[in-house]
């Protein structure tokens, strides 16, 4: 496809650069370790809560199992994973375009028969595939629960669909930040800034006039995850992440056009 010309080699190269980068390895190791620690402590916490609830219920003569422990664990674990993404994605994405500009390799891409859409898609996919590679093993944590006889595979499934969608949206936003600077540290902090804005945008919702409340809630990255984490798939949430990602990819495409027109130096 003409619009995405050059995407595949760029995507492959990007992936390769993650797999030879010590930063990416360190980040992956920390992510996996932290996810494991969080999962174990969440499991411990809710197992204790579950036992307490059962004991309390028996005191009053009811049967056990008042608290759905697997659903609680899955929900809390998904929340933690999403929070981790908030910290990891700006680091994954910070160098995507800013480093190309700083190293001068953008010049190679611009003088090759590669479309802006190809640069965009190649970069996005490269980083996205790496993110999915980081996330994939954590999906298997549910089998620890299954081993003890209780699991909520449905919540894990919808939760990970939600995570994949939200990760794409976050990645698109941080990719855009990376396209407007030459400095990857600036790109990382700018990425945190943009994600934070769309994370907390619904916080003051109750203080706003009622006509605005729904709008700011709709704009929140976090709010749309609520359905996925309890096992619900809704088109409304899917649409939000899809259009959020598309908007930032479009902005990035525009930024690339501007780089082409003005050259790298002026940015």
């Amino acid at each position: 496809m003409k619009f995405f010309r050059g995407a595949w080699p760029i995507c492959k190269r990007e992936l390769h650069s993650y797999f030879v980068s010590p930063v990416a390895y360190a980040l992956t190791a920390i992510f996996w370790l932290a996810e494991g620690v969080f999962f174990v402590s969440i499991l411990g916490f809710w197992a204790a809560q579950g036992r307490n609830a059962d004991a309390r219920a028996q005191e009053f003569g009811a049967d056990g199992n008042l608290l759905n422990v697997p659903a609680m664990v899955a929900g809390a674990f998904l929340d933690v994973t999403v929070l981790m993404l908030l910290f990891i994605i700006p680091i994954i994405a910070m160098g995507l375009l800013s480093e190309e500009k700083r190293r001068g390799t953008m010049e190679l891409l611009l003088t090759s028969p590669v479309a802006n859409g190809g640069i965009l898609l190649g970069k996005f996919l490269g980083a996205y595939i790496f993110l999915l590679f980081m996330l994939a093993p954590t999906y298997s944590f549910q089998f620890v629960m299954a081993h003890y006889g209780a699991n909520e595979p449905g919540i894990f499934a919808t939760g990970y669909i939600g995570i994949a969608l939200m990760a794409a949206a976050m990645l698109a936003a941080t990719l855009w930040v990376s396209s407007v600077t030459k400095n990857q540290i600036v790109a990382a902090f700018g990425g945190y800034g943009v994600l934070m804005v769309f994370w907390f945008i619904d916080a003051p919702a109750n203080l706003l006039p009622s006509v605005w409340q729904d709008t700011v809630r709709w704009m929140s990255l976090n709010e749309h995850f609520g359905d996925f984490r309890v096992g619900v798939l809704s088109l409304r949430d899917f649409n939000f992440y899809f259009w959020f990602a598309l908007m930032f990819l479009f902005l990035t495409h525009t930024a690339l056009g501007s780089i082409r027109w003005r050259g790298v130096r002026s940015s």
Partner: protein, 323 residues
Amino acid sequence: MIHVENLAKRFGSIAAVDNISFDVEAGEVVGLLGPNGAGKSTTMRILTGAMPPTEGIVQVAGHDVATTPLEVKARVGYLPEVPPLYPEMKVRNYLRFVAELKRVPRKERAGRVDSALARCWLEERADQPIEQLSKGYKQRVGLAQAILHDPDLLILDEPTSGLDPRQIIEVRQLIRDLAGDHTVVLSSHILSEIAASVERIIVINQGRVVAADSVDRLAQRFSGGEHVTAQVRGDVDALRRMLPNVAGVASATVVDDPEAGVWRCDLVAEPDIDIRAGAAASIVKAGFELVGMSRSEMGLEEIFLRLTEQGTNDHAKSDNQAA
């Protein structure tokens, strides 16, 4: 091969290139010369098809860069000022990536990569990560990248900047080898560089072409006649009286005596006359001792300064004061 007509490139209100026109024939080796910020890099980037011009016509091998940039990109190899390298990649993998980017057909890729490695003397380093290479080797990888898809036109922006003298000679040799089958446009602000590598120079200053000709002809145009330097032992007053009378000498000055008693004399010939033999004979005949004699052609430095004087006088003044 290249046709540039009334090219202008503006960034907002700043004109980086302001009405440039020139042509380059196939097989020529041309140097773009000019002070820093003159518009060389912008002109080159436009020639590669990477950046559209604001105004004017730019054609490479008959293809317009603004309307058919892909056709142009397929025919142009470009080495930017900073070679566009991914430090974590191995040389061979990097070149494979570039081959894919440049849409070299899959079957030809391995062969092209090997031949680029061979032409740039990189075979021993092929499986080393680029970040471990010296600056000279990195420059060669940059050149290998530029010739990989066998382009008709090679555009090299400051190909020897930052290299040590040995590396400069190697890269220069490499460029000369490549010049056989490619049209080459290279830029530099180092004048000896241009003189060593190119047949014709285009001097750009403040976004305009101020001269375009061969090095020799530019020198002739600006120096008028030939300069001869003679080292003579003898009485300086008699020397001063005698030298202007030598046949064919337009003017003569005794400059100084770097070795005690041996005077350095600067003779300027009338146009198209070789005065060396005549002057030597006259000096010896007049009873002086002729210690040495050499012809000094007008240096590129001097031509460069004269061509770019206009508009940069302020800089020149402050430079002089600093000196």
